[in-house]
């Protein structure tokens, strides 16, 4: 009877992309960028001027009239939601021990993440700051020049 044992200290050869490694790197890379993006977002929306009281449709329309904030908010949407979803994936893998439950939760997470990314991107890129038929006092001031 012959038993062959693998040579010690030889790691099994992995094939393909090491997704766990890239997930690990993504959390750190996106995390650093998100610190800047989120604190900037919070400062402009909560600390400048009247803070939270200033936020309404016209405020959002005013921000998205500037491509700077369109890019900022798009980056925020994608980096933050994927960062959060990957963190939730880690937690599901830690605590959902039954394979069936883990599968259901993982697919639900992936599904809701993709839906929210598509929804968010559509909202940002198909946004109409001056929708027809809306009362002028709810719209940003520049709509008066167009209508």
């Amino acid at each position: 009877m012959t038993v062959s044992i693998e040579t010690p200290r030889t790691l099994p050869q992995r094939r393909g992309v090491n997704w766990e490694k890239w997930g690990w790197i993504y959390m750190r890379a996106s995390g650093v960028v998100l610190v800047v993006l989120i604190f900037g977002h919070l400062f402009v929306n909560l600390m400048v001027g009247e803070g939270v009281h200033a936020i309404d449709f016209a405020f959002v329309a005013g921000k998205w009239a500037d491509p700077f904030w369109v890019v900022w908010d798009t980056l925020l949407l994608f980096l933050a939601l994927i960062h959060g979803a990957n963190g939730m994936r880690t937690i599901i893998n830690d605590y959902a021990q039954k394979p069936g439950l883990r599968k259901v939760l993982s697919w639900a997470l992936l599904g809701s993440t993709v839906v929210l990314l598509v929804l968010g991107a559509l909202v940002i890129f198909t946004f109409d700051p001056c929708p027809a038929g809306s009362p002028a006092d709810l719209l940003p001031s520049f709509c008066g020049d167009i209508n």
Binding site: R28, L46, G84, G87, G120, V123, P135
Partner: protein
């Protein structure tokens, strides 16, 4: 039956503990090398709790912002809920959670990549709280003035 086994366990315990001490004298000073129960554990626990909280806020926040595509009236009605005093206090909690998660995340990156990061992880945990306190002292009064001052 359960009572009997519990009694047996209680009888056996002092002997067992004594044996453990005799066999492993270094077990008495084990706290310094354990991850569990110290700053590292609380950093991990709080990172998870704040992370999950922020994730669920983010889900709601993407949905409420999506209302700008529906109509100005719908968006203003829902965003008005964020401007009530109760939500104003909730926003202090949200910023507190984000502040800790951000600063502790930077600490984790330093532990991973800085050559002496692991050696200073405990000090950095407390530094996170110092910076967090500075952040909250800067944010909270101004935000609450906006919320309650009208």
């Amino acid at each position: 039956m359960p009572e009997k086994s519990a009694g047996a366990l209680a009888d056996a315990q002092p002997v067992g503990r004594k044996q453990a001490v005799e066999q492993k004298p270094q077990g008495l000073r084990v706290s310094g090398t354990l991850y569990r129960g110290r700053e590292g554990m609380w950093s991990w626990v709080l990172h998870r709790i704040t992370g999950v909280s922020i994730f669920f806020f983010l889900l709601v926040h993407i949905l409420d912002t999506a209302l700008v595509r529906l109509s100005p009236e719908a968006y203003n009605a829902v965003i008005g809920a964020y401007q009530t005093p109760i939500m104003g206090l909730g926003e202090v909690g949200l910023v507190g959670a984000i502040g800790f998660h951000a600063l502790n995340g930077l600490r984790i990156i330093l532990v991973d990549f800085w050559s002496v990061g692991t050696r200073h992880q405990r000090l950095m945990f407390w530094l996170v709280w110092v910076l967090w306190a500075v952040l909250m002292i800067g944010f909270t009064p101004r935000h609450l003035m906006n919320v309650f001052g009208g």
